[in-house]
C-alpha cells in the first residue's frame, strides 16, 4: 500500500530514523525482515510531500534516501561471491545490506521508548510543586560550643587595648571620679552665664555628648535643681514638652527670684518646691 500520510504529521519527524520508524510501525512492517522497496518508496514519497509543502528537508533526510536506494539496489543484485566481499569482517555469509539500518532503527527505537517513559515521568513530576529555599534574615544562631578558642578572646583584647591605648583612662576617670555635683553646678552656671542672660543655654547643649554615663546625666539634673533652688538660674519652656532653656540669673536678682517664685517659666522649679 502506498501511504499518502497525513501532512500534519510531516513536520513532527525529528530525523530520518524517526520517519523510518514511523513508517515501519504504521505499515506494520517486520523490522527484522524489512521490505526495503516499500519502505524506500514511502520514505521518498514523504520527502517529496515535505518539499512540496516547502518544508526545508534537512540533509540527513536526503542522505537516508540515498542509503535506502543503495540498499534496495544491492538487494536486487545477486549476492556477490564470498571472495569479492574482500576484507568484510568475519568472512562468513555475506552481510545483509539491511543489517546496519535495522540495527540503527532498533537502537534508536529503544531510546525513543525510553524517552516516552521519561516524558511520562516528566508529567508526573510536573504535577508536584516544591518550595524555594526559605529566606532567613536577622536570625542569629545560638553559639556552637567550643567553636572559638581562648586565643580568639586574647587576640581580641590585645587588639582592643592597642587601639584604645591611653584613651580609656581619660574617659573613665572623668566619669568615675572627677564629676561631682559641685563641678556640674559650676559648669552649668558658667555655661549659662557665657550664653548671656537673654539667650540662655538649651538643656540639650548641656547634656554630655554620647556615649555618656548615666551618672553624668543624673548629676546634670541634680545640678540644675540645685541651681534653681538657690535662684542662680531660671529654666523656661515656651511650650509643653518644648525646648528648655537655662538662663543665668545675675547675683543681684537672685534673692528676689527665690522669694517671688513667679509662676511663669519655672516649670521645673515648681516641682522642686513640693519637696
Amino acid at each position: 500500500m502506498l501511504a499518502a500520510p497525513p501532512t500534519v504529521r510531516l513536520e513532527t519527524f525529528e530525523g530520518p530514523l524517526d520517519l523510518l520508524l514511523h513508517l515501519v510501525r504504521v505499515g506494520q512492517m517486520d523490522i527484522f525482515d524489512l521490505p526495503i522497496a516499500r519502505l524506500c518508496d514511502q520514505y521518498i514519497a514523504h520527502l517529496s510531500a515535505m518539499e512540496s509543502l516547502d518544508l526545508s528537508v534537512a540533509g540527513e533526510f536526503l542522505v537516508m534516501a540515498a542509503t535506502l536506494l543503495e540498499i534496495k539496489s544491492r538487494l536486487l543484485l545477486p549476492a556477490p561471491p564470498r571472495e569479492e566481499t574482500g576484507e568484510n569482517d568475519d568472512g562468513s555469509d555475506a552481510l545483509d545490506p539491511r543489517a546496519e539500518l535495522v540495527e540503527r532503527l532498533l537502537e534508536y527505537g529503544k531510546y525513543q521508548r525510553m524517552a516516552e517513559l521519561l516524558k511520562g515521568a516528566e508529567g508526573d513530576r510536573g504535577r508536584m510543586f516544591f518550595r524555594d529555599t526559605a529566606e532567613i534574615r536577622d536570625y542569629v544562631l545560638p553559639p556552637r560550643f567550643g567553636e572559638m578558642s581562648a586565643d580568639d578572646l586574647l587576640r581580641t583584647l590585645q587588639r582592643l587595648l592597642a587601639s584604645v591605648g591611653a584613651g580609656e583612662r581619660a574617659v573613665t576617670s572623668v566619669r568615675r571620679q572627677k564629676i561631682t555635683l559641685r563641678m556640674k553646678m559650676r559648669e552649668v552656671l558658667l555655661r549659662a552665664e557665657a550664653a548671656g542672660a537673654d539667650e540662655g543655654v538649651t538643656l540639650e547643649e548641656l547634656l554630655p555628648a554620647p556615649p555618656f554615663a548615666l551618672l553624668e546625666v543624673v548629676l546634670l539634673f541634680l545640678a540644675l535643681l540645685e541651681l534653681l533652688k538657690v535662684g542662680s538660674i531660671l529654666v523656661a519652656q515656651t511650650q509643653f514638652c518644648g525646648e528648655m532653656r537655662v538662663f543665668f540669673v545675675p547675683e543681684a536678682e537672685r534673692a528676689a527670684l527665690v522669694d517671688e517664685r513667679t509662676e511663669e517659666g519655672l516649670t521645673i522649679a515648681g516641682g522642686v518646691d513640693g519637696e
Binding site: 530520518p16 530514523l17 523490522i31 532498533l106 515521568a121 508536584m128 510543586f129 518550595r131 529555599t133
Partner: protein, 192 residues
C-alpha cells in the same frame, strides 16, 4: 506522634529548596544517619495519612512536595511549570542518561540528526553538564546528566531508570531477529 527529631527534619525539609540526603540531615541535626532514617520513615508515614503534602525521595535526597492530585489547585495559584521538553530534547537527554558520559557524535549516531541546538537547550536548563573531554582525536566534550535531571524527572538515582530494553513486540521477535541476522552474518547483540 512526631518525635522531636521527626519534627526538626520536617522543618528542614520545609525550608530547604532542594532535596536533602539522610547524611546531610544527620549532619545538620547532629545525630546518626540511622536515627534520621528512622525519623524520616515515621515522618513519611505521618505524611501519607491524609496530608496534602508528601515527602518524596528525589535526586539523591528527600524533599517535601505537594501531592500530584492537587496540581490543578496549586497550578491556579502558581505560574505553571516551565515549558516541557521537546521531543528531540527528551530523546537526547535519554540517550545521555543511558550512555553517559558520551559525546555529541555518540548522540548523533543514535538520533541520526544534528543535535547542536538540543544540547544547548539541555545545558541551559541544567539537565546535562560538561563532564570533561574524551581522550580521543579532537578531544570532544563528554556530556553527563545532572542532579537537576533526576529532579526534573522525579528520579531518586540514575539506577531508577528502567533498563534499556527492546520493546515487548520486538522482544518477542528477538529470537527471530537473532536468527535472521545470524543468517545474514550479523551478530544479534547490539550495544545497549
Amino acid at each position: 506522634m512526631g518525635s522531636n527529631l521527626s519534627q526538626i527534619i520536617e522543618c528542614l525539609l520545609f525550608v530547604a529548596g532542594e532535596p536533602l540526603s539522610a547524611k546531610e540531615l544527620a549532619r545538620t541535626t547532629e545525630t546518626e544517619t540511622d536515627a534520621v532514617e528512622e525519623a524520616l520513615l515515621a515522618l513519611r508515614r505521618r505524611y501519607d495519612s491524609g496530608c496534602g503534602l508528601q515527602i518524596i525521595e528525589i535526586a539523591g535526597g528527600f524533599q517535601m512536595a505537594t501531592r500530584p492530585e492537587h496540581a490543578p489547585s496549586v497550578g491556579r495559584l502558581l505560574a505553571p511549570h516551565a515549558n516541557r521538553l521537546s521531543r528531540p530534547a527528551l530523546e537526547t537527554a535519554t540517550i545521555i542518561a543511558y550512555r553517559q558520559p558520551c559525546t555529541q557524535a555518540d548522540i548523533e549516531a543514535v538520533r541520526g540528526v544534528s543535535s547542536d541546538a538540543v544540547l544547548k537547550t539541555l545545558l541551559e536548563r541544567g539537565l546535562i553538564c560538561d563532564a570533561g573531554r574524551k581522550p580521543s582525536p579532537g578531544r570532544p566534550i563528554l556530556y553527563a546528566t545532572t542532579a537537576d535531571f533526576l529532579h526534573y524527572f522525579g528520579l531518586s538515582e540514575l539506577t531508577d531508570l528502567p533498563p534499556l530494553e527492546e520493546d515487548e513486540d520486538d522482544a518477542s521477535t528477538m529470537e527471530a531477529m537473532t536468527t535472521a541476522l545470524a543468517a545474514a552474518g550479523v551478530s544479534g547483540e547490539g550495544d545497549a
